[in-house]
Structure formats: structure tokens, C-alpha cells
Amino acid sequence: MQRFINNPDEVVEDTVKGFVKAHADMVRLGNGNPRVIVARHAPVAGKVGVITGGGSGHEPAFIGYTGRNMLDAVAVGELFSSPTAKSFLDAAREANGGNGVVCLYGNYAGDNMNVKMAIKLAAKEGITIATVVANDDVCSAGPDEREKRRGVAGEIFMWKCAGAKAEQGASIEEVQATAQRAIDNCRSIGIGLGPCTLPAVGHPNFQIAPGTMEVGIGHHGEPGVRVEPLKPAAEVAREMARIVLDDHGLASGTEVAIIVSGLGATPLNELYILHDTIETEITGRGLKIYKTYIGNYFTSLEMVGATLTVMALDDELKTLLDVDVHCPAMP
């Protein structure tokens, strides 16, 4: 495959450089740490800082969600690999307005370990870091083991609600509780049609055979629950909605927000094709769609595929979702 790359080992460095140049009105590099992106306005004295971090290769996640009413700082990892404990710590330092920081991240072994170490290091400096771990990916573990599930695109709703809440002057406990409620209300699923390649590796590290699809795939290609023959979009969309909504078990009349995100190599038109049926399925169950996001919100290099996230709303989450944000990924 042909790529726009200078040096396969410096993809992240070069991405960050271009990103900061493009969005200099909203973000800046961390002081002394080029693996931290900070919102221009941060830190705000007295405001609880909201941060995240994760491997690169998911652009616009995670860096694109840095900005006003969203994330104050983001720790940047290697492609598909957790940021260092030091980068999480530096992100917390940049975001801390004196009232602590909430770190919202996905449920991956490396992130868990690096955040754990960052919390210890931050405590020595008098910075409190509260955490919420996302676990919205339905197919990564059964309903009785929800704490084992991966965090995927539902993280965006968690960041959005927590970021807006923090902006209102909420305490660290309140921001943490809001983020927890937001992610508890999210369910996601991914369908993979084609693999991705880490530039420094040079070949796909997993395969999806032509004519098949991986149901429940993770956004690093972690296998799903089953491999099936590829079906027409309407059938795939029905299956996505069914898996998410069956797990969710929402009462008729519940309002929801949804994200249909491409994984990097699926054109927008195909996402709309999927959405046509997804919308019918969701409203067919008596649910009301309050807000819809369609686009490449949380990708996986050039993986072919799509994810669906459904978030159940209450009055407060609706209000928080409506707060305008000023960040590169959500204009």
C-alpha cells in the first residue's frame, strides 16, 4: 500500500507536528513533552481538569477532542500502544487548575498500568487524579463481565459529557460520576471488513478473508465474536443494532444519541448506507434518536469497517451533550 510517510518509526511525531500547526488556535504542545497535547485555554484555575490518553492511530481520537468544553489535555502513545506514565502525568499537570484531574481512558492493559503509575507520581506532587475506565464494547466480554470490556467510541460521549460538566464548575467527584454514568449508558459494536497495517511493521497483522466480515472486532483488529460471510449493508446494520440494543435493554421511549464511526478506510457514503437501516432499527424499538454523529470519529489506521455506539440519555446528559465544543474533531 502507498502511504504519505517520512519515516515509519516517526509517524506519531510527524502527526503531532502537523496537528498542532493545523489547530494552533485550539491546542498547543505540552511544555517539554511533545507527547502531550493541551487545550489552548488550559489550565483553568479552579476547574477540574479532564484528560485522556491512548495509542495513536485512532485519529481524530484522541488528540482531536482536545479543546474547550472537552478535554484539557491528552497523552499521546505510539501507534496502538499506551502513552507512558510520564505522559499521563504531564497531561495531568497541564490540565490541573488546582482542583484535581479526571482521567478518562479505555480498558487496555498498557493504559491501566501507565495510568496507575501516573496516579502515584501525581499524588507526590499533590495532584489528585480520579479515573473512569470505558467499557462500552459489547462483544469484548459477556454482560456479567462488563468490567472486562474494552473502551471504544463510547469514550467520545464520556469525554463530551465530562468535559461539559467540568466547565460548569463541578467538583472532581461530580465530574467522575458524570463520566461514569455517561459510559455506563453507552454500548458499542464494531464490524471489520479489512485489516490495517502498522507502518513500521509493513504488513497486516491480522487477516479478514475476502467475502467475510468480523463481527464484534476491536479497533486494533482484536477478533470479534464470529466471522461471517459478508452480507448486504442493511443486514449488517440490523445485526449491529440488534447486538447493541439487546445488550442495552432500553425501555421504549428512551432518548438516545448515536455515533456511526468509520474505522479509517470506509467511505462516508457507506456509513450513511448503514445509518439508514440503523435508524430504522432503533426507532423501530420505540427509542428516540436525539442526536446523531456520523463520520470518522474513532478510527483504526486504514481498517475497513464501522462501529455503532448508542448512548441512553437522561435530562442532564442531554444538556451536557448540547454544550458547544471547540475542538478539532467536532467543529
Partner: protein
């Protein structure tokens, strides 16, 4: 009794880093089968950065281990950054003040490294991780040592146990980390962390063995 000088033994770590860099493609290939294929890439990046700093410097083994551990911990990230980072830093702290290192101190060093890993991770032997290499290797070393084997002989036994431990991961189902999502599909493949850990222990043992001399 055999021992070696801590001073000027930093080249052991330089060779160890070289060995990891040599195996960059191999480690990523193994990782790619049940993980995301970046293990070799990330390991080589971190060990390469450390090697640059150790090269030509007259470091003690403790200083070189600390350099390597700090690079992994602060600049690499992922799962391997903190796990191997904490291991090498704990290795360094154990032998920091030692002039001579004998088998007893070497064992204490290995144990402290293991404890560091266990403090941040939650894996156990049998979960298909680097612990499947590290734990039996340390046990075998201790046993050989208490049986009265020489330091050199005990190191050879450590290497064999590390290799056997690495190979044991082929028949294990991953219970932790990214590969655990595969369940039974992780069978039949070596664990990348267990494989890199065997390389580290082999290289460390070889480096130490070459420096051993009888105590005065």
C-alpha cells in the same frame, strides 16, 4: 565462589539491547499472530534509545540497567514500557551499592525485578505472559544455587528454564492483555512478552558469565 565487578559492566546491557534490536522483526511477527504486532517495534525503539546512551560510556551494570529502565518507563509506554521499565529499575536499585555481584545478589536482583512487575500488573504464571518465562527462570536459578552449583552453572540452568518457560506459552490460552480476547484462538502461538523475556535473560546470563571470575 564466582562473582563479577559491577563497575564497567554496563556493556552487558548494551549487548542485551543489541540482541533485542536484532530480533525486532521476529518479536513483531510473533506478536502479530495474537496481538497487534508492535512488540518488536516498540522494544527495539526503547532498547535502541537506551543503547545510544550506554554506548561508549563507562557505566556500571547498575547505571546501565537504570538507564534502560528509565527510557522504557518514561519514553516507551505500552504494556512493555512500564513492565520491563520497572523490572530494570528494580534490578538497578538492588545492585546499586554493590562492588561485586555474586549469585546471591544476582538472585536478589531478579526477585526485586519480579516484585516490581507484580506490583503494577496482575498476571500470574499460566496466563501466557512474560511471567511464564521469568518466574521459572528465577526458581531454577535459586534451586541450582542452593544445590551448590557455581554461578556460571546456575546461569546456564536459568537460561534453559527461561527457554522452557517461553515454549510453555505455546500451549497456554491467554488470560490477560490483548491476546486474552482471543480465548482458544491464542493457543499454538508463543507469547511475545515471554519470548522477549527469554531473550533478555539469555543475553543477561551470557554477559554475566563472560565476566565471572573466582572471588579472591
Amino acid at each position: 565462589m564466582q562473582q563479577f565487578d559491577n563497575a564497567s559492566s554496563g556493556d552487558i546491557v548494551f549487548s542485551l539491547a543489541d540482541r533485542i534490536i536484532e530480533n525486532r522483526a521476529y518479536l513483531s511477527e510473533i506478536d502479530g499472530k495474537i496481538g497487534d504486532g508492535d512488540h518488536g517495534v516498540n522494544m527495539a525503539k526503547g532498547f535502541g534509545m537506551a543503547a545510544e546512551r550506554i554506548k561508549g560510556a563507562d557505566m556500571s551494570l547498575a547505571e546501565a540497567l537504570d538507564t534502560l529502565g528509565t527510557v522504557l518507563m518514561t519514553e516507551i509506554g505500552g504494556s512493555m514500557g512500564p513492565l520491563y521499565g520497572v523490572m530494570f529499575i528494580q534490578f538497578a536499585e538492588t545492585i546499586e551499592k554493590a562492588v561485586q555481584i555474586d549469585a546471591g545478589m544476582f538472585s536478589a536482583m531478579l526477585h526485586n525485578g519480579l516484585e516490581g512487575i507484580q506490583a503494577i500488573g496482575s498476571a500470574k504464571v499460566g496466563d501466557k505472559t512474560l511471567l511464564d518465562t521469568l518466574v521459572p527462570a528465577i526458581e531454577a536459578f535459586d534451586l541450582a544455587n542452593s544445590d551448590g552449583k557455581s554461578f556460571a552453572e546456575s546461569l546456564n540452568i536459568l537460561v534453559s528454564a527461561a527457554e522452557a518457560g517461553r515454549d510453555s506459552t505455546r500451549d497456554l490460552v491467554a488470560r490477560i492483555g490483548r491476546a486474552s480476547r482471543l480465548g482458544e484462538r491464542s493457543l499454538g502461538v508463543l507469547d511475545a512478552g515471554a519470548t522477549s523475556c527469554a531473550l533478555i535473560l539469555q543475553s543477561l546470563a551470557l554477559g554475566v558469565e563472560a565476566k565471572l571470575r573466582p572471588s579472591a
